[in-house]
């Protein structure tokens, strides 16, 4: 066989071969896309991580105790290469301020710093060095002139050391200027900042010593002279981070009563080495290496990560244990592994899709070979062997395959370009580009593999064609085709059964029980969860058998279709043959006559549609699931974290912020109970939460019927700053004992339940405010209260609490001389507050009987019903109240009513009791709570571990009391279980490990009561619990810049996390995104191949069909009949494909779903419009081809057509 023949053939068939070449290139490009796509997605993720990182985090810091030498520099260059683009070098003396003693026998921690003293002007140093009275942190910056501006004086210089005495050639003046030889004063020069100068009272020329004086009288000190006052050019320059001692110094607490001002100064680096290094306790040589993150990409991220580790090790060795650290390392580590992990399954999936494409090619090339049948017959009749004919085909397609292999990687880049704009990730990329990515070697290898597969699959049809070429000579081709070889040993059934076997294996392994298999099949979300939670187990995420199940099933179903299609058409033919019309039966007869090819066309359409449907389904599911997952991790569309002590967000109208539809306040606290078991406590307002996040409404439904917390006491106006009451005190004076001094303790709570104590007395200036736990006994010996008359007691309200305050209890803290016990009677009237302008607001004047006032039984305002009464209760007993009229003189005209309190003061446990009256206060019932399965398990009993054995987990209706350590203190926490959930909750950490899912135990409770409970026990003016997270619902998902600005202006906001950012990350997870992306590209390529295949079919059969149509027209058919015939035929082709393909695709997506671990446990979703668009695009493509064919056939006259047929 000569190459000449082959090339001439190719030249003659250039149109056909061009189309075939296009098909081959599409296939090689597709297979090469997988690794490129994974890297591209990873690349975007890396870029996103690097671009959003704080530039300072990306620097690499080397801290060494010895100077960084040339060798170390070489190591840095070798390891980091182009990543390192600059360095800030500076030297810093070791400095640790002393830790002040706690005052309870703790001596504190000694400092590690160089100390000394400022020389007093006129003092003679030769008289000996006085004891050090201040300490310093010396610095030396390499580029000091670029970092600071000189305010006064000049920058420091390196002066000669005593051993540098070579004065040769220098004049006396020069020697004096350089302090050489006899002019050497042993000094080194330094600069300080204005703030240091002012605080330490230094000026130009100030001198000080630093170093150590030993007991034997010797010393190791250096003398420093201030030669300049400098200020930083850019105070926010990151180099000052960690070096604030130079800029500002620090006030150091030496002991309980003494503080000291320590400060820093900067030297010339060489001078530091000469003079300072020998006298300080230690020196750190610091390199801040600037990095160029642009050089990092998905291909070299792993290499740079390894280089960083190597750098750490080598510098550690070369520089005697030098430390190297950077925020860059965690950003770039792990990408290599993620790429590798994703690559295997993706290549497998691409391979599966590749089979569909190769089948397209086989069908297409079979058509071409059918067209070339005459030529092959001719060669065959001249003695061309089957091998020679196959060789002819092989060499032809080898050239195509070779070109395809070369073009494939480049074409894959075009696919990628397409994906950036139109693929399922276009939205997630949010305008980001895949960039100028280097094509990975794997892509080239896969392109070669695809090229080889194309050559093989394009050559294989040559064998039957060569065999058939002889049949053609024998005029036997019109005989019915024999059954395909695989039908004889039921390959289709074998594959389907094997596929089902693998599916069952995957699902069954989930729990190992048949009943669970059914449960998983009908509830794929559980299966998804299982597969995701057990990545390394058989049947888990990384099990390739799961993908194999799909490949086997799909292939088996395809073959089964080929088996049944002829029967199906035969059946349809029998039905249609009874009709009188000719078009329908003739169309079916045409298909029935050549069922194999029609079946293949339909099968390919089915495959194409399956890919498309699966791609659309997975993309839609991923989008919905990814967003759900992102929301679940973040907590709503955005989570604003707040430090409640730094700002009050009560009045922030979150839903007026840009793009915010709803918001929910959340308290999130980590607590421990039973010694060490930790859990997360989530406090929400159920109604508010359910309204803002309807998706989670069910998960807090159990809390929604719970009545709101009844707040105790009387609300004080927000503008009140003083509380007053009129008191009429019974006279008890005797000769030995003075009149009682009436003091009323008013117990307040603020808006978040933090308790405050306010003591009302006649002298408002002496009142004591503060949290209950922090008050001391009232001043001894308050003046007696004038008896038998109305006097005003008053006190100032605390200023640090959250408004409004509520007055819930008043305690009679009266004294009578030195008596430990006495009984007394007072009348109270006219409770009122006074604002800063002196305007009074009445609170209670007892015009009617005050129903809510009663003798106190609770020490705390939110006493839990589960907390037993204890000794503290006895401190508040002993008061009787009565609503009276006209018992005493009216406090004002027409006011004869008052509250009479008769009380007895005693001493209990060494303290005077405080008979109290409480106002509108009720105990709190056990808090309704929804708990996680883990919580139910951990806190099933009151013991730990094995102590709980045999005790069933908590369930709905269970009640439990725990003393929960919430950090600042312990809260007695009684709860009643109203729900148990195993579905997790937003922001609750779930970690997937090889051993399974580790989920934090959590409990969801109403916010207000929980906050009050915690604050009554642990709250204080500067530390209390309140909403520390606000979850926002952004319908548009993406936060606007305006929203970010608005949030930034809210006081107390520490950080804001957006689900949109996380959503982008999820969408860019290599494996799931590549699965959806490749299916999408696979669909597009397959659609193109389908159209090419169909076009070939039209071309090949055109002559035969045109002759047939010519005959039909000569018998009286018109062109409309022919058009209808073609339409019927193609309806038979497309309709089953549309139905079966879509269903099969949905099934494929259903089976693939478990691999999309981050799909947020979503069940399969479709966007109907997208599916319809896909079907329309396919039908449209076919319609265009069909119309072109029909138009061409119509344009021919009968004569022309018949002659054409004869040829």
């Amino acid at each position: 066989m000569t190459l000449n023949l082959i090339f001439k053939r190719m030249r003659r068939e250039w149109r056909v071969l061009s189309i075939l070449l296009l098909a081959v290139c599409l296939v090689t490009g597709f297979l090469a896309l997988g690794p490129l796509y994974i890297r591209a997605v990873t690349e975007v993720d890396i870029r996103s991580a690097l671009d959003s990182a704080n530039p300072e985090e990306l620097k690499i810091t080397v801290v060494s105790d010895v100077p960084v030498d040339q060798n170390a520099e070489n190591i840095i260059k070798e390891e980091l290469g182009p990543l390192a683009v600059g360095v800030d070098r500076y030297i810093r003396a070791q400095y640790t301020a002393p830790e002040a003693p706690s005052g309870q026998g703790d001596p504190g921690t000694p400092q590690i710093a160089v100390c000394g003293f400022v020389m007093v002007l006129g003092a003679n140093p030769d008289d000996g060095l006085p004891g050090a009275n201040e300490c310093y942190q010396p610095f030396a910056f390499e580029r000091l002139d670029q970092l600071v501006n000189v305010v006064e004086g000049r920058l420091p210089e390196r002066l000669a050391t005593p051993d540098m005495v070579n004065a040769a050639g220098l004049s006396e003046e020069q020697q004096a200027a350089q302090q050489i030889g006899i002019y050497n004063r042993g000094q080194t020069e330094a600069v300080i900042t204005p703030e240091v100068a002012e605080t330490a009272r230094l000026e130009l020329g100030s001198r000080f010593y630093m170093g150590q004086v030993f007991t034997d009288g010797t010393s190791r000190v250096t003398s420093v002279v201030i030669v300049g006052i400098v200020e930083p050019k850019n105070p926010s320059d990151p180099i000052w981070t960690g070096n604030q001692m130079f800029l500002r110094g620090a006030e150091v607490e030496v002991n309980l009563t003494t503080t000291r001002y320590d400060w820093g100064m900067a030297f010339d680096p060489a001078a530091y080495q000469d003079w300072v290094a020998p006298v300080v306790p230690g020196t750190s040589y610091i390199w801040r290496i600037h990095t160029n993150p642009d050089v990092i990409n998905s291909n070299n991220a792993g290499e740079y990560s390894a280089a960083y580790t190597s750098l750490q090790n080598r510098l550690g060795t070369a520089l005697n244990g030098a430390q190297t650290f950077s925020g860059l390392a965690p950003l770039i580590s792990g990408y290599d592994d993620r790429v590798k992990e994703a690559e295997g399954p993706i290549v497998l999936l691409s391979g599966a899709v590749l089979f569909i494409m190769l089948y397209h090619l086989v069908t297409t090339v079979s058509l071409i070979l059918q067209q070339q049948g005459t030529e092959w017959s001719s060669i065959s009749s001249r003695g061309g062997s089957t091998f020679q004919l196959m060789k002819l085909q092989f060499i032809t397609v080898f050239l195509l395959g070779f070109i395809g292999f070369v073009v494939g990687p480049y074409l894959s880049r075009i696919f990628l370009f397409f994906m950036e704009r139109f693929g399922p990730l276009a939205q997630a990329l949010d305008g980001a580009s895949f960039g100028n990515l280097e094509t990975p070697v794997t892509s080239y290898l896969l392109s070669i593999a695809a090229g080889a597969a194309c050559v093989t699959f394009l050559s294989l049809p040559a064998y039957p064609a060569a065999k058939k070429s002889l049949l053609r000579l024998k005029q036997a081709t019109s005989r019915p085709p024999t059954k395909p070889f695989w039908t004889s040993f039921f390959l289709d059934f074998v594959l389907i059964i094997a596929g089902i076997g693998f599916v069952i294996r995957m699902y069954w392994i989930a729990d190992g029980r048949i009943k669970d298999l059914y449960r998983y099949l009908i509830n794929p979300a559980k299966m998804v969860q299982f597969v995701a939670d057990h990545p390394s187990q058989t049947g888990g995420l990384k099990d390739p058998g799961n993908l194999l199940s799909m490949a086997l099933l799909v292939t088996g179903i395809a073959l089964f279709w080929l088996r049944i299609f002829p029967m199906l058409m035969g059946f349809v033919s029998r039905i249609t043959s009874r009709r009188k019309a000719l078009t329908g039966p003739l169309a079916v007869w045409n298909i029935e006559r050549n069922p194999g090819h029609y079946a293949q066309l339909i099968l390919l359409l089915i495959g194409t549609l399956a890919l498309g449907t699966a791609s659309l389904g997975l993309t839609a599911t991923r989008e919905a699931g990814g967003w759900r997952q992102a929301q679940k991790e973040i907590g709503g569309s955005a989570r604003v974290e707040i430090n409640p002590t730094q700002g009050d967000i009560t009045n922030v109208a979150w839903d007026r912020f840009d793009g915010v539809a709803d918001s929910a306040n959340v308290i999130r606290v980590t607590g421990t109970a039973l010694g060490r078991e930790s859990f997360v406590l989530i406090g929400v307002n159920p109604e508010e939460f359910a309204t803002a996040f309807p998706d989670y409404a069910d998960e807090v439904a159990g809390l929604r019927d719970v009545p709101a917390l009844t707040q105790p006491g009387i609300v004080l106006p927000d503008d009140a700053n003083q509380l007053t009451v009129q008191v009429w005190s019974q006279s008890l004076a005797t000769e030995e004992v003075p009149e009682p001094s009436v003091i009323i303790s008013v117990y307040l709570i603020d808006a978040v339940g933090t308790p405050y104590l306010l003591q009302l007395s006649r002298d408002a200036g002496t009142n004591v405010t503060g949290p209950t736990g922090e008050t001391s006994e009232p001043d001894a010996g308050p003046p007696p209260t004038p008896p038998e008359q109305w006097v005003t007691l008053s006190g100032y309200l605390p200023v640090s609490g959250r408004l409004p305050y509520r007055m819930w209890r008043i305690g009679m803290a009266s004294r009578q001389g030195n008596l430990d016990s006495f009984t007394h009677k007072v009348y109270l009237d006219y409770w009122q507050t006074v604002d800063a302008n002196g305007i009074a607001t009445p609170l209670e004047s007892y015009e009617t009987q005050p129903a809510g006032w009663q003798p106190a039984t609770f020490v705390s305002p939110f006493s839990g019903t589960w907390v037993p009464l204890d000794i503290a209760q006895r401190q508040i007993g002993g008061a009787q109240i009565q609503y009276v009229q006209n018992e005493v003189d009216p406090v004002a005209q027409d006011d004869s009513t008052a509250l009479k309190i008769e009380y007895s003061v005693r001493r209990v446990s060494g303290r005077s009791t405080e008979p109290s009256v409480m106002i509108d206060t009720l105990p709190v019932d056990r808090i309704p709570a929804i708990i996680s399965g883990k919580f139910a398990d951990v806190f099933r009993g009151t013991g730990q571990g094995s102590a709980n054995r045999g005790i069933p987990p908590l369930e709905v209706g269970s009640e439990r009391d725990l003393n929960v350590d919430v950090g600042p203190g312990t809260v007695p926490f009684g709860f009643r279980v109203v729900g148990v959930t195993n579905e997790g909750f937003p922001t609750i950490d779930r970690r997937v490990t090889d051993d399974g899912t580790i989920e934090a135990a959590f409990i969801i409770v109403p916010l207000d009561v929980t906050r009050a409970l915690m604050n009554q026990q642990t709250g204080g003016p500067s530390s209390f619990f309140d909403t520390n997270q606000v979850w926002l619902n952004l319908p548009e998902r993406e936060p606007t810049d305006k929203l970010k600005q608005e949030i930034a202006q809210v006081p107390g906001v520490t950080v804001t996390r957006f689900a949109w950012d996380r959503f982008g990350q999820i969408q860019r997870e290599p494996l799931p995104s590549a699965v959806a992306g490749l299916l999408y590209v696979g669909f597009i390529v397959s659609l193109i191949l389908s159209l090419l295949d169909f076009a070939f079919y039209i071309i090949v059969t055109a002559k035969q069909r045109s002759f047939t149509f010519g005959v039909l027209r000569s018998l009286g058919w018109d062109t409309n009949n022919i058009w209808r015939l073609l339409l019927f035929e193609n309806l038979a082709l497309v309709v089953p494909a549309l139905i079966i393909g879509t269903l099969l695709g949905a099934g494929l997506a259903y089976l693939l779903l478990p691999f999309l671990i981050l799909a947020g446990n979503e069940t399969l979703q479709f966007k109907p419009l997208e599916v319809v668009l896909m079907l329309v695009s396919l039908v449209g493509g076919f319609g265009v081809l069909l119309t072109l064919t029909a138009t061409w056939l119509r344009s021919m006259s009968v004569n022309q057509v018949l002659r054409l047929g004869e040829e």
Partner: protein, 298 residues
């Protein structure tokens, strides 16, 4: 001496779906080396099947068939390919089957030689020689679309002769050309027969072609039924006689015309006479026979 082609009781049965079609029913045929004969017969008489078998495109169901030293019944597929490549040449009625449209006349002729791995120089030489012999020495580099139908068929003959086969099978070679071209084609084949001693079998309906060969075998229902033998002295026809074929089993097919004339049907009576065998219709009486005998005898 064994004839070049010897077919002995050839039977070929095709199976189409569940239906068996008997294409050849115990055909016997002997052809000598260098002979040129024509096969004629109605459609479905088995001509093409016989051609396919002789060309090793098909194998008989039973019987024996030898072409030269090749027992076509016992050949493996590679042997069949080799046989087609070296021992037999085909000329088909449709020119599209004979020639590859994208090759020149010379390249078409060289193709079978290339398949047989003949050296390039030898291919060139032989192709030129053959094309000159068929009268197309001036049109070596013309592609088929620039040749007339007759010229294409002559190129096809050159192609068929490329590997010097011993047997040339031509299926209606003049079917698509005019009379003049047909004459040229026939003369070309004659020349080749004389030059190379090739045995030529022509399947034809063309009476003029049948008249140009010395042996014409008529086929019907899968058997050879008649044979016309002509003797010539130079270009002058000396004798032209048609014979019925008596096969090895003694079977004889009567010409249709005889049967119709004598209204023979179902059964006939045979009478052995002194120098011939009489065939009589069933209704023919004994007396008539006697009379005829007398007449004959007289």
């Amino acid at each position: 001496m064994r004839p070049y082609i010897k077919c002995d009781d050839l039977v070929k049965i095709y199976k189409i779906a569940d239906l068996e079609v008997v294409a050849l029913r115990g055909l016997d045929l002997e052809v000598d080396k260098g002979e040129m004969l024509a096969l004629v017969g109605a459609s479905g008489s088995g001509k093409s099947t016989l051609m396919n078998i002789l060309g090793a495109l098909d194998t008989p169901t039973t019987g024996q068939v030898w072409v030269g030293d090749y027992n076509l019944l016992e050949m493996s597929r590679p042997q069949q390919t080799l046989y087609r490549r070296t021992q037999v040449g085909f000329v088909w009625q449709q020119t599209a089957r004979n020639l590859l449209p994208y090759l020149t006349a010379r390249e078409n002729v060289e193709l079978p030689m290339a398949l047989a791995k003949v050296g390039r120089r030898e291919r060139h030489k032989r192709a030129q020689e053959l094309l000159e012999m068929v009268g197309l020495g001036e049109r070596l580099n013309h592609r088929p679309d620039r040749l007339s139908g007759g010229e294409q068929q002559r190129v096809a003959i050159a192609v068929a002769m490329a590997n010097r086969p011993g047997l040339l099978l031509a299926d209606e070679p003049t079917g698509e050309v005019d009379t003049e071209a047909a004459g040229i084609i026939f003369n070309t084949m004659h020349t080749l027969k004389d030059e190379y001693g090739v045995t030529i079998i022509i399947v034809t309906h063309d009476v003029s072609v049948a008249n140009r060969v010395d042996r014409v075998i008529g086929m019907r229902d899968g058997r050879t039924v008649t044979e016309i033998l002509r003797r010539r002295d130079g270009d002058v026809l000396v004798s032209d006689e048609e014979y019925a074929i008596l096969d090895r089993a003694g079977r004889l097919q009567l010409p249709e015309a005889y049967i119709e004339t004598l209204s023979l049907e179902d059964r006939v009576r045979l009478k052995l006479r002194e120098d011939h065998i009489g065939v009589y219709a069933q209704h023919h009486s004994e007396e008539t026979d006697e009379e005829e005998e007398t007449t004959v005898g007289a």
